[in-house]
């Protein structure tokens, strides 16, 4: 700090260079110190928000590294975006696209790969998920909307049945006409009224294509099943996180994985090499071989029944 006379500035040594800030004028010694502290805090905040390189050594900066070895099938990107309103809080923003695709294998044929279900999971270090901020989470306590349908059916039957019968005969005699007329009538009327009350109750549960699960996982699925084929997250907030101040390392690794049984693989084999159609056993085992190989393409970990397709690492260290 250098006293500049009537007006003085604060010189802060940041990121290997001196930076001069105008601090104010004619302040008593103590006020001057407070001003300087306030200035440093403010600089730190600005640097956090903007990602200014001045923050090195004082303010946390996060770097992303997205690994998508099969980007044509699954693409995952993530970043931490600071919250303006809460210091030390960030939105974990994720982009996740999944679609079926074909792999051309010169040696065996064309392999079509589709995912029926996947899991997005996050591994946090020095960061804590802020409660009630998880994407795809319904009301806590499993509350489901229950729709009650009540139907009252009133059916009225009014049936008038009229039956008339007329019987007339005329008998002629030699004396003169002698008339005889008989007429009989029959009239019946039937009225019926029925009231039916029907009640049905149905529970409506919200469907989330990206649904929050326990252990910082999200299940990716379609409402009607079938292959995953859309942008499930397009720079949407997966959750909000807050920094654990005492943590040495801060970061999050987000990954997308699928169980082998949820990966549908179909090989159109080259007729010249594999002419005979596969039996169910051959098909099932071949799918495992392909799944294992796809997993090993991007991962160093051993295959263990699930394939990790993509991984996005955010950390405060380059």
């Amino acid at each position: 700090m250098v006293n500049g006379g009537t007006q003085y500035a604060v010189v802060v040594y940041l990121a290997g260079s001196f930076v001069v800030f105008r601090a104010g004028s004619r302040c008593p010694e103590r006020e001057r110190a407070y001003d300087i502290i306030a200035m440093i805090v403010s600089v730190e905040y600005v640097c956090r928000v903007t990602g200014c390189p001045l923050s090195n050594g004082i303010i946390m900066n996060y770097f992303s590294d997205d690994q998508n070895p099969l980007a044509q099938l699954i693409e995952l990107k993530s970043s931490l975006v600071p919250k303006n309103e809460t210091f030390g809080n960030f939105d974990l923003v994720v982009e996740l696209r999944i679609n079926p695709d074909e792999i051309e294998e010169d040696r065996i044929g064309t392999i079509r790969v589709e995912l029926l279900e996947a899991t997005l999971f996050a591994d946090f270090s020095g960061l804590r998920v802020v409660p009630k901020t998880r994407h795809g989470q319904g009301e806590t306590g499993g509350t489901a909307r229950i729709e009650l349908q009540r139907e009252i059916v009133t059916s009225k039957t009014s049936e008038t049945e009229k039956k008339r019968s007329a019987d007339a005969s005329l008998v002629a005699s030699g004396v003169g006409p002698e008339g005889k007329l008989g007429l009989s009538g029959n009239l019946s009327k039937l009225n019926a009224e029925t009231i039916t009350l029907r009640e049905s109750e149905s529970s409506i549960e919200d469907f989330y294509p990206v649904r929050a699960l326990s252990d910082d996982r999200w299940k990716i699925a379609n409402r009607e099943g079938g292959p995953l084929n859309t942008a499930f997250l397009d720079n949407d907030r997966l959750c909000e996180v807050s920094e654990v101040q005492e943590a040495n390392f801060k970061g999050v690794v987000t990954s997308v994985a699928a169980k082998q049984k949820h990966v549908r693989i179909k090989l159109e084999q080259k007729a010249s090499i594999l002419a005979a159609p596969f039996t169910r056993n051959q098909q099932a085992l071949m799918n495992i071989v392909i799944a294992k190989s796809l997993h090993e393409r991007g991962q160093t970990s051993d295959y263990s029944g699930f394939l990790v397709f993509s991984q996005s690492t955010i950390s405060d260290e380059r």
């Binding site: 044509q72 294998e105 040696r107 082998q260 990966v263 039996t279 099932a284 392909i290 393409r297 263990s304």
Partner: protein, 377 residues
């Protein structure tokens, strides 16, 4: 700049080699195919998609199928034990379903488990008595009786009489059709030493109207390759007598063609039986009454004998004969004109011609000789 917007050649060379090896392994068992594909039983089968696979003649000890989809997995002579991990696997309709359900029950109920251990040490007659008494609602251990009897049933694999008896007790008491189905699949899959258990199982399947159940039929189809002739016969009978599909007939036919004469005889007899009395009589040896082989030629005199036998059976007026199929009739006349015999022989040949569709090729010796035209060519 992207090299290509499309995915290509991403599989490792070991994966490609595994697929090529698998492509050639059509007849190998599941266990052999796993080795050829270069897969690891302890880790590569977790969460695997294995519905409807055939595990016949495979040793699955040490396989970890946790979380796998094994619905409808079939197989006979499959070896598996506590080292075969099935936690969280989907097993409905599979050979594992019934036994794994019992395993979970006995793992969680120590009292039932202790009781099972003590009853397992008893003699076969005591086991039958225990099951009979306790399956009744008044039985002292009625609440444990059903799972314990079922467990005793699977344990009695080498005691056909005990197994057949326990199956008779169990079948009407199973809690659901699904459980009964799983029990019968497990019973057939174990391929008992004697045919009595298989026969009992097939009878129960018919009685419970489960003859169309896909997995039961698949297991019956597998039993055709059994080393036990009586079991082979039961399996062919079950399939052919219960609305066989074209594929099933083709499979039985292929196995019969390449097996010894016994299975071929069973196939001919069952197909002819299904088609009717005339077909039965036309496909039997007129002297021994044994079914003719699938592909054979007989002498002209043999053909005449078949024709005569048919005429005799038709002419029988014995009251006891009339209710029997033609092939079982013993009465009837002995004298028929040459014209009658020749006419019947023509009909026999017509039947043989029709049976070529199902792979049964019977002809007269003279027919088998090449014609003059063919010789000239």
């Amino acid at each position: 700049m992207k090299d290509s917007p499309f995915l290509s050649n991403v599989l490792s060379s070991s994966a490609v080699s595994g697929i090529n090896a698998l492509a050639l392994a059509i007849e190998e068992t599941f266990e052999q195919q796993v080795k050829l594909a270069g897969l690891m039983p302890a880790q590569d089968f977790k969460n695997a998609d294995l519905w409807d696979v055939d595990l016949s003649d495979s040793n699955l000890r040490g396989f970890d199928f946790s979380g796998a989809d094994l619905r409808g997995a079939t197989g006979i002579r499959v070896q598996w034990d506590d080292t075969t991990i099935l936690d969280g696997a989907e097993l409905s309709g599979s050979i594992f379903a019934a036994k794994f359900r019992l395993k979970i029950y006995f793992d969680t109920d120590t009292q039932a488990n202790d009781l099972l251990e003590s009853i397992s040490r008893q003699s076969w007659s005591d086991k039958i008595l225990w099951a009979g008494q306790n399956l009744l609602s008044s039985g002292r251990y009625h609440e444990f009786a059903l799972p314990i009897t079922e467990a005793l049933f699977y344990q009695a694999r080498n005691d056909d009489f005990l197994q057949a008896e326990l199956m008779r007790y169990l079948a009407p008491r199973m809690r659901s059709m699904e459980e009964l189905h799983d029990m019968l699949v497990a019973a057939i899959s174990d391929e008992p030493k004697a045919a009595v258990v298989v026969r009992s199982a097939f009878h129960l399947i018919q009685r419970q109207h489960l003859t169309n159940a896909t997995h039961i039929r698949q297991h019956a189809l597998m039993l055709i390759k059994s080393s036990n002739r009586a079991i082979q016969e039961e399996a062919v009978r079950f399939l052919v007598r219960n609305r066989p599909t074209r594929d099933e007939i083709n499979t039985i036919r292929t196995v019969a063609q390449f097996s010894d004469g016994f299975l071929a005889g069973v196939y001919v007899a069952e197909i002819a039986r299904t088609l009717g009395g005339a077909y039965e009589i036309a496909t039997r040896d007129p002297i021994s009454n044994a079914p003719l082989p699938m592909k054979t030629t007989i002498s002209p005199s043999g053909l005449n004998l078949i024709a005569r036998r048919w005429l005799r059976a038709e002419s029988s007026r014995n009251a006891s004969d009339l209710t029997l199929p033609l092939v079982q009739r013993t009465g009837g006349g002995n004298y028929f004109s040459l014209e009658q015999i020749e006419q019947k022989a023509v009909k026999v040949k017509e039947i043989w011609e029709k049976m070529k569709i199902v792979g049964i090729e019977i002809g007269v010796e003279a027919d088998a000789l090449p014609s003059h035209d063919e010789e000239a060519n």
